[in-house]
Amino acid sequence: MADPSLAFHAVRRFGTGPGTRDLSNAAQDPRGWLKAQIHAGAALPDATKPMAPTNEAMADAAIYTANDPRPSDDTKRTLREAAKRRDYLASLRAASTSQTPYMERLVRFWTNHFCVSDARNAVVLLAGAYERDAIRPGMEGTFRQLLGRVVRHPAMLQYLDNDSSTGPNSKAGLKNHKGLNENLGRELMELHTLGVNAGYTQADVTNAARILTGWTAPFKQGEFRYADNRHEPGDKPWFGTTIRSGGEKEGEELLDRLAEHPATARHIATKLATHFVADTPPQAAIDRLAKVYQQSGGDLPTLHKAIVDLDEAWANPLAKATQPVDLVVGLHRALGDDGADEKDLSFLSQLGQPYWGAPAPTGWPDTTADWFAPDALLRRIEWAQRMGNQYGGKIDGRDFAQSTAGPLLTEAHFGVIRSATSARETFTLALLTPEFQRR
């Protein structure tokens, strides 16, 4: 039997707090339990079944964005609300009910790394399909394979405007006087792969955008389409080399080079270590993950196991802030119910993390300072009070605190919970302990 506090650390740091069987499963061998999830985690767990596949989501998006007939505001609202009930809740329920909670955390990590946001137009209808068809299956292979699924997915092509980018010297560009939009080209290099300090120039960004012209996703088409009449002709110099004229293949070659670049290995390693180790992760942990990335050819299952093997990830329990989505998911897991409802989507907005609604392509930030602002803490207290009103009469907050934090719960904090004067307040305080607010 491992030290019991290690099992609690495993479910908090790598999962979303204990669900029904997590602690007993983790007790013998916490690291083994986490690594086994990498194999066991089905790409599409049952809870994701309601999610619309990409072609269906695109059909909705075609109606939503049509000019003729232009949909009424009612029609648009109905489509948005249907997508939220169908896709958003399925995603949250998959996280709440999963037997492989580490995999679900990784789904949220990669979805956030390759952020799309419903703050932009039709993304609300496509975000679920993006998780279903790009992120989840992509996590089973290499980073390059995931990258390919992401960049070819309509949600990303729409979100970062590549769908509307046209080579100025392409047939369509010359005829319609259309031109480049460099949004995807830039964020692909800066956020998704190389990182901002990799040494590329503005010309490299513009040329990445040129290379990707023609990568479109017309809503009516239902899926990715390479439009050669919009592709900028000719060879393109890019980041010290030349990508030869080759139509759609140029984009694939660009993704190959991005995925194999050492700067990408470092960038991905840093983000993973920041998420699973510490706000400012030790350089040794970053180096180790970057090395695993390079030695394995960017194999994601290997990389995901290597995170578990970092001793640094086990050194400081509760060093990271629990993000709002993990508060909500964590509550459902601890309650053992079947997970989220529409009120949770509203709570997430109130708590400052609307689901699939980050304000910018960077996605949600990942340090304690980002999540423990004074106003944000007050929202957490208000949410906990609301949950206390809802659950306090049914569940003893003292039991809840002990079963979710176990040996990590300090005597002093347990004393505060015991000092509450009502069952509601007891439950509220159990949610507010640093042991629940941190991971």
């Binding site: 703050a119 405007d161 509307s164 980018s165 046209t166 100025p168 560009g173 259309k178 031109g179 480049l180 939009n181 460099e182 949004n183 830039r186 800066e190 956020l191 901002v196 503005q202 960004v205 109130q350 400052g352 304000p359 910018a360 960077t362 304690t368 300072a369 980002d370 423990f372 602002a373 004074p374 106003d375 944000a376 803490l377 007050l378 929202r379 207290i381 208000e382 949410w383 009070q385 609301r386 300090t410 002093a412 904090h413 505060v416 000092s419 509450a420 004067t421 307040e425 509220t428 305080l429 507010l432 302990t433 640093p434 607010q437």
Partner: protein, 396 residues
């Protein structure tokens, strides 16, 4: 002498929530009059996503303007100085120009010369030549410096979270509208005990309690939305609250107009209208007395390409415009060393060239308005910007 004079205020700061609660029995004027800092206020708007300066403060008379902007160019705007015009969506504050309380600044940029939003915002908020020297935002360093000079004060972030410009060693408040029920007092008492031993949660809790105390009285339904106008109104409330902060920061997203930027109407127009309405709401909420002592500063991480892109928008550029407004501003003119938009004048053949470091405005606001010492500004707040001179004559 100065030292003993400033002691009470410093103790106030060090004493934290309890001491501040005690001070609320004094009128804010009394407290503030006891400090050399006075009761000047500063409101910083951080416009995220890169505001198109050429669309906001339009160089209509520049011969290259129409040719670069084509489909999104305007024929006319709201007249400013004959050369520049204000975007029509900014009509709510156009009168301020004549009144002399609006000062558009053009061809201004932070020292950042790449085109990443996220690094650009970091450099703007750190107030440094580049990332690295410190992780504390320039307003956080300002608070620390003011405290050491005995003019210390509080700052508040209005809106979700605390932006980098206010992060650092100084404690700050933050407040955002909520549609959930406020916590019961007994709950807050017990929550305080949960966070006593956790430095980060304790500091956040303290800031929340103080902001909540000052927010008392405006949980009206209309203040529960998160529109920029609402946040501006709330900022005015905090800045005039007893023992309230004198510095407020508001972040505003949505300026990244790669597609469908539009001309007279469209995405940019909507953003500019929202900003103008927020300025108006802030002024109304402050009241004219406080407005006279207020400087509003709206800045963005960088500008956008001089030419329209292939999708009716603009891509990431370099120099942009900024806005100074407030009763303490000597406005009614456009501050610009205009580089021109001709081919040879563009930065890297694509962007409006920067001719003014945005820190010249920051330094002026801190020195001439908030009365931070020159030494504090040069050594503590902007240690790597010695060559950037504070802009003279911006404030009354």
């Amino acid at each position: 002498m100065t030292r003993s004079f400033s002691l009470p205020r410093r103790r106030l700061l060090i004493g934290g929530a309890a001491a501040l609660a005690g001070a609320t029995t004094l009128s804010s004027n009394l407290v503030l009059a006891a400090t050399p800092g006075g009761d000047q206020r500063l409101v910083l708007f951080v416009l995220r996503g890169a505001m198109d300066g050429l669309g906001a403060v339009i160089p209509l008379q520049d011969p290259a303007y129409q040719g670069l902007r084509t489909s999104i160019a305007l024929e006319q705007g709201l007249p400013l100085d004959g050369f520049f015009s204000l975007h029509p969506a900014m009509a709510p504050i156009h009168g301020w120009y004549k009144e002399g309380v609006l000062l558009p600044v053009h061809a201004v940029a932070s020292p950042y010369r790449e085109r990443s939003h996220f690094d650009g915002q970091d450099v703007l908020e750190l107030g440094l030549n580049a990332k690295g020297l410190t992780r504390d935002g320039w307003l956080s360093r300002t608070l620390v410096t003011m405290a050491s000079e005995g003019t210390g004060d509080k700052a508040i972030s209005v809106g979700v979270g605390v932006p980098l410009v206010l992060r650092g060693k100084a404690k700050v408040l933050s407040w955002a509208p909520s549609s959930m029920q406020a916590p019961a007092d007994s709950l807050m008492d017990r929550a305080a005990r949960l966070y006593m031993a956790d430095a980060q949660l304790h500091s956040a809790f303290d800031g929340a309690v103080q902001a909540q105390a000052m927010a008392g009285g405006f949980d009206d339904a209309e203040l529960r939305n998160r529109e920029l106008k609402t946040l501006a109104e709330a900022a005015g409330h905090f800045l005039t609250a007893e023992s309230g902060p004198r510095i407020a920061v508001i972040s505003n997203d949505g300026w990244d107009t790669h597609v469908g930027q539009g001309g007279e109407t469209g995405r940019l127009a909507k953003q500019l209208e929202g900003l103008s309405n927020a300025f108006v709401a802030l002024r109304a909420s402050l009241g004219e007395d406080a407005w006279k002592k207020t400087v509003v500063l709206a800045v963005t991480e960088f500008g956008r390409t001089a030419a329209v892109n292939g999708t009716g928008g603009t891509d990431h550029g370099t120099a942009s415009a900024a806005f100074l407004a407030g009763g303490a501003v000597k406005g009614g003119r456009v501050l610009a060393d205009w580089p021109g938009l001709g081919d040879a004048a563009l930065y890297e053949d694509r962007d409006l060239a920067p001719t003014r470091d945005v820190r010249s405005l920051f330094k002026a606001a801190l020195g001439d308005h908030l009365r931070v010492s020159r030494r504090g500004i040069e050594e503590k707040i902007f240690p790597d910007a010695g060559s950037v001179k504070a802009e003279n004559g911006l404030f009354i």
